[in-house]
Amino acid sequence: MFHPFVIPFCIGTVALFGIIGIKFTRWIKSLDRKQITIFRQHFLKGMFIPAIKEMLLEGLFHRKVTRFSRRLGFMHRSIALGWFLLIVVGFIEATVNLKGKLHAPWYAIFYRFFEHDQFTASSRVFADIMDALLIYVLIGIGLAVAKSLYAGIMGLRKTSKLKLFDAVLRYSLWLIFPLRLFSESLTACLYKNGGFLTQYLGDLFNPMFASVMELPAWTAYSIALGLFFALMPFSRYMHIFTELLLIFFRKYGVKESEQATGYTKMELSACSRCGICIENCPMDKVLGVDTIQPVYYLRDVRNRVAKRITADNCLMCNQCQSDCPVGIDISSLRKFGRNKQELDTHDNYQYLDKIHSFNAIGRVVYFGGCMSHLTPGIVESMKKIFDAVGQKYWMMDEYRSICCGRPLLQQGFINQAAELRRKNTRLIIESHSKTLVTSCPICYQSFKNEYHLPVRVMHHTEYIAMLMQLGKLKVKPSDLKVAYHDPCELGRGCGIYEEPRRVLRELVQLVPAEREGKDSMCCGYNLGNTCLSLESQMRLRDASWQNLTINHPDQVATACPMCKKAFQHASHNSVKDIAEIVAEHLIQ
């Protein structure tokens, strides 16, 4: 059971798996020590089954894409799951026919060409199943073609622009399944071995035409497959395999380190260039900047042509990361691109050694954050709240503000940020306090994820929610209509969506914004972007404001001094921090 036309397919398959093997080995070898240690630790915990489950859910069923858009999910699923089932069912069909004997891979792939005498009941059923699966895949391909012509069909604003090589490969992928249908129909015309679809189509052909065209058609099918397989590892379609590897390592606790490693290369290759990151990006949606989105930034990094501006001109609002169906750690990848090693100096902040810690045993350490110094209302309200519940506190940056270091880290000054973290850590540890409350989500994320503090770190919304739950805070509700703005750093950054809403529901009438929660729109003043002009920031702010006030609230609440400052001049509506609203509703 061999025919020379299968050679292109065989060459392609061997090349595919050979190259994947080489690439995977290289990436795994260049993981750093920290990542390998974590992998080993998790290895003993039996993460294997959950990892495989996740790989199946994402690789075949495309769960996260479906969550983003059902139509898009259907398209991806029909191609991935359909093709996978075609291979599996084809393999079973061939094995059943040979009664369990071993067979060559091309035998199952080109089964109908090799097996003509198919008149048993079971082979009829198999033929029909295979046809049904082929229709399933073809529907997916049809949708993909439609999407490339008009993204709106899939409910998208834009689709990503591909480079020529990827585009060529996409056409060869689209060609594979119609060719399969065509060749199987021709064989069905000659030997009557088709399923409901291929037989129907086969009967339409002239047998003379079929006998001439059969071999060329199968050869074309084999060449299309072989070409696609051989070129796949160098194209976007490599993501099909890399994504599985990435999910596996992620399930074993591996994360991005401070420097780029083999894991970074996996993430770069796991990007499918689907363009979902463009969809909600405020830089594109509001400002029309369509060159900096992760799909293009990662492409440039991959091709080693990334410009500094592509890495820099991003708000770091994390919208793309929250939408990304592959779950790529885009912020970390962008931080690698922003690394300013040549400017990053040591011992810059020796002047901070002058500050002495305060013995705050039994007190809460309150860290307002730099921005809260510009919104004194938040600090005043927090002090009122502490006093109302009789909690003693030490405000760490009452007179002079020390930065948490996150703004520096976001701009790629790794050493300088680490120095600030060391200074603050010393102050906090020497205070002997057990709880740190901060008003600024930027500081909060830094304290929580970048510091390794032996104290409990809370954002003030969490702290107030806790006080309310314990019944310590006596408040009087009012019927004010309030919309809540989720700050990027607090919501998508730290996953705090519920606490602020719980606090607000106790006090006022919460009205929804158009997009909120994990889809909330950045206020535009995010510290992540240094290149934006004030005018662009204001346009972003206005878009975000419009999104917030769609239901005409009396007041807008936020939980970030930066967002408050941004919205303050957007309109006559008052903008308040949650702490201020709570302080106003306190029963004295």
């Binding site: 300013k340 040549e342 400017l343 100096t345 810059n348 902040y349 002047y351 901070l352 002058k354 500050i355 730099c370 921005m371 110094h373 510009l374 007179y399 002079r400 503000s401 020390i402 930065c403 270091g405 703004p407 520096l408 701009q411 000054f413 600030l420 003043y525 510290l527 240094t530 290149c531 934006l532 002009s533 004030l534 005018e535 930066m562 400052k565």
Partner: protein, 109 residues
């Protein structure tokens, strides 16, 4: 007598044309909003680093204009990039980007 921190600057000579002018243009190209500054000093008043040291963003501007890069390089290292200056600036000068750009340009020296 109470000291208010004022003093008379020592006599000095400045090389204000040639290289420093070209560098000024390059900075203005990188961050055009630099030109809008009207020296109100809001940035300096709010500066986090300025509360601990004599770091003074207005002075930073002048040092750059004067071409006193050596001194400027040392000054800029004190900045924590917290962004308060940018937020208070009444003319919308992007001071964070300005400081990073200055450091980049000085690094080329």
């Amino acid at each position: 007598m109470k000291s208010f921190g004022f003093s008379i600057a020592k006599p000095r000579s400045l090389e204000i044309d040639g290289e420093s002018l070209e560098r000024l243009h390059r900075l203005e190209e990188k961050e055009p909003s630099f030109k809008r500054c009207f020296n109100c000093g809001g940035c300096t008043a709010t500066c986090s680093a300025g509360q601990f040291t004599d770091f003074n963003i207005r002075r930073v501007h002048n040092l750059y204009r004067w071409g006193r890069y050596q001194e400027l390089g040392e000054e800029l290292r004190k900045c924590m990039l917290c962004g308060k200056c940018t937020l208070v600036c009444p003319r919308g000068v992007n001071l964070r980007h300005l400081i990073v750009s200055m450091r980049e340009l000085l690094n080329e020296l």
